[in-house]
């Protein structure tokens, strides 16, 4: 911007005028600050999710039934993981609750697998997320989240090698979810399973990826 002549600024004025101008300048900045503050609190506040303010108030997960067909095919193939598709009601943001499709890996453990489960998956038992009860092992069943604990890809069951393998970064897991290769920081995440009078019910949980500890991020 070109220099321009401003007459009013040539004469600095009396000391009273100068002190008055200092006051007006400060008052203007103060008014701006007050408006900014009154706006910042609700505007920034509107973006803060409830889970940050009161994490313990986040509703715990509800067990949802797995379809019998999927469960039956698990029961008939002991020692082999079977992918079970299921759906549960989930309210996504402002949308009314609607069916949300997910899948889990279900395994009917052989007696040997059940016997060695606690020994081979000690990470499940020493974990702070101990509130997740693994009574699944007592039933002889285990259900794994399909999400790789490394960075959240969906892994596959490779029958020829009898391993779970993640296509993204090469993590590999045994049939009972022990990590055997790759960058994953922990074994596969089991989901709480319960037997509700003949119906298998699972609680959908999302765990934090990339950490050795199993930290719950969200329930269904």
């Amino acid at each position: 911007m070109a220099e321009h002549e401003a007459q009013a600024y040539k004469d600095p004025g009396t000391p009273e005028e100068q002190s008055r101008r200092t006051f007006l300048a400060n008052a203007t900045l103060a008014v701006g600050g007050v408006i900014g503050l009154v706006l910042t609190i609700p505007l920034v506040g509107s973006l803060i999710p409830e889970s940050l303010i009161s994490p313990d108030k986040v509703a715990a997960g509800k067990p949802v039934p797995l379809p019998k067909s999927g469960w039956d095919s698990v029961a008939t193939k002991p020692g082999t993981p079977v992918k079970i598709d299921f759906s549960f009601q989930y309210a996504d943001g402002y949308f009314p609750p609607a069916g949300d499709d997910q899948s889990v890996w279900g395994i009917k453990m052989t007696p040997e697998q059940t016997a060695s489960f606690k020994e081979k998956r000690p990470d499940l038992y020493k974990n702070p997320a101990g509130e997740v009860k693994y009574d699944a092992t007592e039933m002889g069943f285990v259900v794994f989240s399909p999400i790789c604990p490394h960075l959240g890809c969906r892994f596959n069951w490779v029958a020829e090698q009898s391993k779970f393998a993640c296509p993204c970064h090469g993590s590999q897991f045994t049939v009972i979810g022990e990590k055997v290769a790759g960058p994953a920081p922990r074994g596969l995440d089991p989901l709480p399973l319960r037997d509700a009078t003949g119906t298998a019910q699972v609680t959908w949980i999302q765990y934090k990826s990339g950490t050795p500890d199993r930290i719950i991020v969200a329930y269904n």
């Binding site: 007459q7 203007t28 505007l43 402002y94």
Partner: protein, 503 residues
């Protein structure tokens, strides 16, 4: 101060700012000059609150009302932010009009400031378009029907059919209309607004302050300082505007109605700044049939277009060099006349719409819904406190039930409860819904249902359990609503009844 110098040497920002603030104010600083800066303040506030609303708002028929409802009831401070945006529109248009009137009275549009004035008139038009397009976005009853009227008015003008087709993507008002209004409201118009405000300010600075309305050499007047003297007054005026807006947003939140339902009757209330135009249209509608086409053309195109055209051309028509108020009887007289006519038309159409709304509320629920909508903002407990204008408790509960239904049930069962054969049951005349003993339907709402044969038909979808997702008050209100809507005439249900139902 080394940092400041470092930045200054590399950017020149410090001297640019100093240069911008170093400005003479002929005759000294005055609160009279604060209208323009207060308008800019309101604009900035609209942009800031608008940005935060887009973090939640979603433009489509499936989500516009739902996301607005979420902002109202679930987002922390959401109701406050949306109400600030609502009142901000009123503040911005009111301040812009006051600024214009002041410039008219002061004769500040005269040479060499003609283009500053022309840009200002364009800013008025853009601001009105922003108001119009924003009105549709919440997708509630008033939004839908007010915009329907506005689009149909546009369509009735010569060539307006094209405008209508473009705005609605060929069909009626629908999801693409919301998208288009959203694009206009959030991107195109704000971008144009900011560009033109930039031009407006640059022209203002090029010519300097217009000063008081006197025929003297402005340079010979005592000069005041823009910073800090005038800036303080601008800030004080903006603060006053802000304080009023905050109080209004808290104590008179933006109205929000049930979701748009084209099958219902609803008498929309236009935004106050369109009442004068609406008044013209009503007068045209009352003329004899023979002259009505001409009257409509006058009301929709000739007069509004003429006013805008006259405003744009004003500095070129009014060549009278004097700025003294006493020497400009024609322009001042015409300004006063136009103001009186605009206020008269606004009062006329505003009162007429209110009367129509009051008359229609005697017979039907829509107006009661409109009434209750003003208090819906207080949260889901509004069911018992809603109707403030003398309706019965049952009417209030059913209004509340209607909004619970619209938010949670209508996506499957349909706005009219008709459902979908084989998937979602029809609720109208449904024996389970209207059963004399409501225990069955109460259980269904609380704990869900799957695979039940209703009236000889089976349904594929699963009814979710609502206990825990909705309060007992909400569930009771929605049961009462479905038992008394679409021809159903069964008894009301209270939250206390629900407590007796166990799984």
């Amino acid at each position: 101060m080394n940092v400041v110098n470092w930045v200054e040497q590399r950017t020149g920002f410090v001297s640019l700012t100093t240069d911008f603030l170093t400005e003479d104010v002929p005759g000294g600083a005055s609160y009279w000059y604060a209208f323009g800066s207060a308008t800019i303040f309101a604009m900035v506030l609209q942009i800031v609150t608008g940005i935060f609303l887009t973090f939640y708002y979603s433009p489509s028929t499936a989500a516009a009302w739902e996301s607005t409802n979420y902002i109202y009831h679930n987002v922390p401070f959401g109701q406050f932010v949306i109400s600030l945006h609502f009142w901000g529109a009123t503040a911005m248009i009111a301040l812009l009009l006051m600024h214009m009137i002041q410039v008219l009275l002061w004769g500040a549009y005269k040479a060499p400031r003609e283009l500053s004035w022309v840009v200002g008139v364009l800013l008025l038009v853009i601001t009105l378009v922003l108001g119009l397009t924003g009105y549709l976005l919440p997708w509630d009853m008033n939004a839908y029907f007010a915009s329907q009227v506005a689009i149909n008015i546009a369509a009735s003008t010569p060539g307006g059919g094209i405008v209508q087709q473009i705005l609605s993507d060929g069909n009626g008002i629908g999801t693409l209309t919301i998208n288009r209004f959203f694009g206009l409201h959030v991107w195109l118009m704000p971008a144009a607004l900011i560009a033109l405000v930039g031009a407006h300010l640059a022209i203002f600075r090029h010519n300097g302050s217009a000063g008081p309305p006197i025929d003297k050499d402005l340079k010979k007047l005592p000069q005041g300082r823009f910073w800090p003297n005038q800036m303080f007054m601008d800030a004080a005026a903006s603060f006053a505007v802000f304080a009023i807006m905050v109080l209004l947003a808290i104590f008179s939140p933006a109205p929000f109605d049930v979701k748009a339902d084209p099958t219902k009757q609803f008498i929309a209330y236009p935004a106050w700044y369109f009442l004068a135009l609406y008044g013209l249209l009503r007068i045209a509608g009352q003329t004899p049939a023979a002259v009505q086409p001409i009257a409509n053309l006058l009301a929709t195109v000739v007069i509004p277009g003429g006013v805008v055209g006259l405003l744009i051309l004003l500095p070129f028509i009014d060549r009278n060099p004097s700025r003294e108020l006493s020497r400009r009887p024609w322009v001042l007289g015409l300004t006063a006349f136009a103001l009186v006519v605009a206020i008269g038309l606004s009062l006329y159409s505003g009162l007429a719409v209110q009367k129509e709304q009051a008359e229609s509320s005697g017979g039907g629920a829509p107006a009661a819904a409109a009434q209750a909508s003003n208090t819906l903002g207080t949260g889901s407990s509004a069911g018992t406190t809603a109707n403030t204008t003398g309706g019965t408790q049952v009417a209030a509960a059913s209004t509340h039930g209607a909004s619970v239904f619209a938010a949670n049930c209508s996506s499957c069962h349909g706005a009219a409860g008709a459902g979908q054969p084989g998937v979602f049951p029809n609720l109208a005349g449904n024996p389970d819904v209207v059963a004399a003993n409501p225990a069955g339907i109460e259980h269904t709402l609380l704990y869900g249902l799957q695979g039940k044969v209703i009236g000889g038909k089976s349904y594929a979808a699963q009814m979710p359990a609502w206990k825990g997702n909705l309060s007992d008050d909400d569930i009771a209100a929605v049961i009462t609503y479905i038992r008394s809507s679409w021809g159903n005439k069964a008894s009301a249900v209270t939250a206390a009844d629900l407590a007796k139902i166990t799984k």
